[in-house]
Symmetry: C2
Subunit: 355 residues, 2 copies
């Protein structure tokens, strides 16, 4: 069935949904995708007519630049459904802006705002059944751009594919995490592209993370590559430290992703009168605070895990446990954010976006 909802978007629907085959009680993150996907090609110097088509494999030349030079950027967002069946996004304008910030640094052409939002809305309407209500359930949305030009010359491509794929995600609690503070490996360089959500920032973390896992830590907290003296961020989360009643978090820089969750937490904290110090955070001061008992909490903040409490960290062969708090900031922030996302609280900051 083919029809057109606007001049700028071609839609071709599946003849039969595969939703009946999905076990929504046992979802593995990022494995199952909805019936449709959004695709827009860049050729001859411009983005072509975007399309929504049945979700399915791509045909790619072995010489496509993304395979050789990692010219690719992405975003991660979620759609939430309230008890009335209305669907919401959380600050999608931030994700849209960020994918173009990432794209610029990776020499990828800017994507048009109307294509993005029109595509996203149409896709979420078509695959609306895949967004399950229930606090914690969501549809994970993955916009991404890849260099498709078929030529192994090491320069920016002149052909790209912009896509949006969606995967249903469940609320789950995998337990508080233990993290290892990086002493040798690093995630990004001054003057590099750590601030971009670029494919190349992720693969480099897998090996150090595997080594950390062999020591019993689930994730790595990256430190600055020069000195390893300052806390930066985790693999897919920014990080907050609560020392007494003050929150500390590193300022964003050309090495650190400007997370939407991080900046939302800072805004909520300010409104609630919780002091947030955005400044370089020394590993040594956190170690000291852990020793003298003033380190009350550590938590990660990101779209996938929302707010993820850290129960212990390792550093220079020492292991530091963080005592569990009653009424933790982490659980306060998690609820405050989710209440906005699921349309259960007033949207004081105009963050909700109705699909």
């Amino acid at each position: 069935m083919k029809n057109t909802i606007s001049q700028a978007l071609k839609i071709s629907e599946v003849s039969e949904s595969k939703i009946g085959q999905v076990d929504f009680e046992n979802l593995n993150f990022g494995k199952i995708f909805t019936d449709h996907m959004f695709v827009c090609d860049y050729v001859n110097g411009e983005w072509q007519t975007p399309e929504i088509v049945p979700y399915g494999p791509l045909t790619m030349e072995p010489s496509a630049r993304v395979f050789h030079y990692g010219q690719a950027v992405f975003e991660g967002m979620k759609a939430y459904k309230d008890d009335n069946g209305d669907t919401f996004l959380f600050r999608p304008d931030e994700n849209f802006k960020r994918i173009n910030i990432s794209a610029e640094r990776l020499a990828i052409p800017e994507f048009p705002e109307d294509y993005f939002f029109e595509g996203l809305n149409a896709l979420l309407k078509l695959d609306n059944e895949w967004i399950k209500p229930g606090y914690g359930n969501s549809l994970y949305i993955r916009p991404f751009v890849i260099a498709t030009q078929a030529s192994v010359s090491a320069s920016e491509a002149d052909e790209y594919k912009f896509m949006i794929i969606c995967s249903p995600a469940q609320s789950y609690y995998s337990g508080d995490v233990s993290v290892l503070v990086a002493e040798k490996f690093s995630r990004s360089a001054n003057g590099g592209f750590g601030y971009a959500k670029a494919a190349g920032n992720y693969a480099g973390q897998f090996y150090p993370t595997k080594l950390a896992q062999e020591q019993g830590y689930q994730q790595v907290i990256w430190t600055d590559a020069n000195t390893h003296e300052y806390m930066e961020e985790a693999g897919t989360m920014n990080v907050f430290f609560r020392v007494n009643d003050t929150l500390l978090t590193a300022p964003v820089s050309d090495r650190i992703l400007d997370g939407v969750t991080r900046k939302s937490l800072i805004t909520i904290a300010e409104k609630e009168g919780i002091k947030v110090d955005v400044r370089p955070v020394k590993v040594s001061e956190i170690v000291e605070a852990a020793k003298n008992g003033s380190l009350k909490e550590v938590f990660g903040a990101g779209t996938a895990a929302v707010v993820s409490p850290v129960k212990a960290f390792g550093y220079k062969g020492e292991h530091y446990e963080i005592e569990k708090q009653e009424n933790s900031y982490a659980s306060y922030f998690k609820k405050a954010l989710m209440d906005i996302q699921y349309n259960k609280a007033e949207d004081t900051f105009s963050w909700r976006y109705k699909v």
Copy 2:
């Protein structure tokens, strides 16, 4: 036509070669590929039976990890044909070792040596007609590995594809290059994966290189990310500086690729009694040498361009020209290397590998 040359390799040949359609006098680097390609999949914890199949597109899931997290490594090598029609590789054992060094850092499983060499030999025999004789002509060989697992969870994949594709390359002279010394952007971090030939190291260079090109420079010479005070390497070449009659080049590190051409030049220089200082090279000493006339040459060294003379460099808004030398080291090294590669000189160091 299907047949098997060994238990470990399945070959399926094209029914008709497309070589007749190729204009070998006007080749664009990396655009045209030979009739066949080598493919080997990693699934269920092991590399499966490798295959040689007709060159053609891949079918990839949109959620394949390489698109999202840049988990991919590659190599670059060349096959050379002498006047007798014999085909040679140059130190292919170094490329084999290096792709596994890169793979380890990117959390990609090690590839077996016999699969690599058996595949390479069979592929080059099948596509032998594509390797044109003539000094400077070659077949560019691109082994690469990509994470194919269909799941957007940010960790190392459990499925990969190892491939070898080949592209005929012509001898060409594009003129000596001008380079810009990086002052703000950087290529890799201490503790990062700059020493790996990983996809993610390349895309990040495209934007700064584009900016350099807008200033009239073709390439960037990267400096250390901490201080930008030391010369490191170019996009796809290591770099040598000749000050009076001494060659200077940066030591390899976790930020710099251990180039096969670089180490071969060092060996040739030592044998010829040319002094090579492998030590950190200050940008300031090169600027000083350019000013006082002791900077005689700058050149890049890499498989694609062999030895590529630099005629000028830019740094902090100043432009430094390098006077052209009679009997330059660059031209001496280029000839010495190529004579070995094309079987025109004695193979003193046992670098030639007959296919």
